[in-house]
């Protein structure tokens, strides 16, 4: 069974003028179908305003679809009595690290979710310890979040979600406000959760470099899915991506240009090593 299933999901909101009269309807999510298997690492790409964050908020019942259905682990998100179960199944990490840390001490913040779930005290401590260790923040457990770097704060946020024992974690642009080092930290933590803990990860981002490790990539624009496939398939369509205002990783772009200028390079190069290997192959082949 799929952990997440979206069937023809539409989300519309009303635009209002200053007096509150409806002036129009904006369709933020437009007939999106999406299914995620347990243990997958999924990436959703799109530039600002493509509807990817709105879509993410449907995955743990913060928003409800105007049309269509969202199933999380077999539960329809509009069933009100299942709300807490749904939110526990798919944890959510948001963009701004400062605006999602509730407590003034790292370990207390990680304990916030389990406290809400009514987990017994002793078990909370076990969960906090294992979650902080999983993201490599255990040694910072007594620190104030204000003294951490952005990347560290985001890892604490991930630990906070992890402590609720979710089956799936949705990361809604977790790296948008971080520097490159912080971005790498967070992506590494997310990949570790997927590899080691076998948690389904849905990463929403507009940085192409972050999605090359994903199992499956969706590209969104104007509320609907425009492209999907493995990172290799998606990145081989460089022209289509630039039409959607997305820049492909530099190596991929270079490989694409070389290919267009006549070199027999295979399409969908993702890493520097691949390009090097490909160039060596061509050179020795001649």
């Amino acid at each position: 069974m799929n952990i997440i299933d979206l069937k023809k999901v539409v989300y519309e909101y009303f635009r209002r003028d200053d007096e509150g009269n409806v002036t129009g309807i904006t369709t933020a999510v437009d007939h999106v179908d999406l299914s995620v298997k347990p243990g997958d690492f999924i990436a959703i790409l799109g530039h600002n305003g493509s509807g990817k964050s709105t879509l993410a908020k449907h995955l743990n019942a913060i928003l409800y679809p105007s049309e269509g259905t969202v199933w999380v682990d077999g539960m329809d998100t509009t069933e009100e009595d299942k709300l807490m179960q749904i939110r526990q199944t798919t944890g959510m990490v948001f963009q701004n690290p400062d605006n999602q840390i509730i407590a003034q001490i790292v370990e207390e913040d990680v304990g916030f979710g389990p406290e809400n779930l009514g987990v017994p005290t002793k078990k909370i401590w076990e969960r906090v310890e294992e979650s902080l260790k999983a993201v490599g923040m255990y040694e910072f457990r007594k620190k104030s979040p204000n003294r951490l770097s952005g990347g560290q704060k985001q890892r604490v946020s991930i630990a906070g979600v992890l402590a609720m024992h979710p089956k799936c974690i949705v990361l809604d642009e977790p790296t948008a406000m971080l520097d490159p080092a912080g971005r790498r930290e967070v992506i590494r933590a997310a990949r570790a959760l997927n590899d080691v803990e076998k948690i389904t990860v849905i990463l929403i981002t507009h940085y192409m470099e972050e999605v090359i490790y994903a199992d499956h990539v969706y590209v969104m624009d104007h509320g609907s899915v425009k492209m999907e496939g493995s990172p290799r398939e998606v990145f081989s369509r460089v022209d289509e991506l630039s039409a959607l205002h997305l820049t492909v990783p530099q190596v991929t772009l270079l490989a694409d240009r070389l290919k267009k200028s006549g070199l027999p390079i295979k399409s969908g190069i993702l890493t520097r090593d691949e390009l090097t290997a490909e160039l060596v192959r061509i050179k020795s082949g001649r």
């Binding site: 526990q88 948001f94 605006n99 003034q104 009514g118 906090v128 204000n146």
Partner: protein, 266 residues
């Protein structure tokens, strides 16, 4: 400069005071503050000051760090001192033009200043040694009976702890906005009071907007983590009295008795 305010901040270290039950510290501070307002005599004050000095020593918080917290209230202290000094009727010490300093005024001014200093040091000592979460837990637990008459005790406690968590973040933001405005030629330091107040508007407007945005984000993050009020919640760090807490209560009793004894006798 704005970041130097230490009131309401937690100072991370490990000391006897840090390990005490927050309820003890809360009751301690309340009764301590009562004790410095009981008498207007030098000896009880001396006792109170000595006692506080002992507590500061036990807390392992650097004294300079605590004093920095005082800076923020120097203006208030000067204000009360000046008013007391000039406006209290009584035996004239110095007369200068229409103004006169009376003996009573000087005494009251000195006592008020001393009281304010002790009050601020004692309460900041509590917040320096207690995390906001512990503090609000303590309030929640102490005020729990009020839940019976439908007062939202848990909600208020949660709001307070969130407010405390966001103080440093909003201060930093204020600093950033001020610098941004200054870089574009804004002037916050010259002109009369009205002009300076007017200059604050371009700081407050963006600050408020950002605070609302943060509140919105935070509410969503809390909901996403299954927060639904106090019901059915368990505690990661439930409050339980230990041996040291009983000892602390005893010390508090002895201190209060001593203050009252000294106050009555002198």
């Amino acid at each position: 400069m704005i970041r130097e305010i230490t009131i309401g901040q937690y100072y991370q270290t490990d000391s006897v005071l840090h390990r005490l039950d927050p309820r003890v510290k809360l009751i301690f501070v309340i009764l301590y503050i009562v004790s410095i307002f009981l008498y207007r005599k030098p000896l009880p004050f001396l006792l109170a000051a000595l006692f506080l000095a002992l507590c500061v020593g036990l807390s392992k918080v650097p004294f300079s760090y605590i004093v920095r917290g005082l800076k923020a209230v120097v203006v208030l202290m000067l204000f009360t001192a000046v008013f007391n000094l000039f406006l209290t009727p009584g035996e004239t010490l110095v007369a200068w033009g229409g103004l006169k300093i009376t003996k009573e005024g000087a005494l009251i001014a000195a006592f008020m200043a001393a009281r304010l200093v002790l009050l601020i040091i004692s309460s900041s000592l509590m917040t320096l040694t207690t995390t906001p979460t512990q503090l609000t837990d303590a309030m929640e637990k102490l005020l729990w009976p009020l839940q019976k008459i439908h007062l939202p005790v848990h909600e208020v406690a949660m709001m307070m702890s969130i407010a405390l968590r966001f103080i440093p973040i909003l201060l930093e933001e204020t600093d950033k906005i001020m610098k941004a405005q200054m870089a574009r030629g804004a002037d916050f330091e010259s002109g009369n009071l009205l002009r300076r107040l007017k200059a604050m508007v371009p700081i407050l407007v963006p600050l408020f907007i950002s605070a609302f945005r943060r509140a919105n984000d935070l509410a969503m993050a809390m909901e996403a983590r299954c927060y639904q009020g106090g019901e059915g919640r368990t505690k990661m760090k439930p409050l339980r009295y230990k041996g040291a807490d009983t000892v602390a209560y005893l010390i508090l009793m002895v201190y209060l008795a001593a203050v009252i004894a000294v106050g009555k006798l002198t």
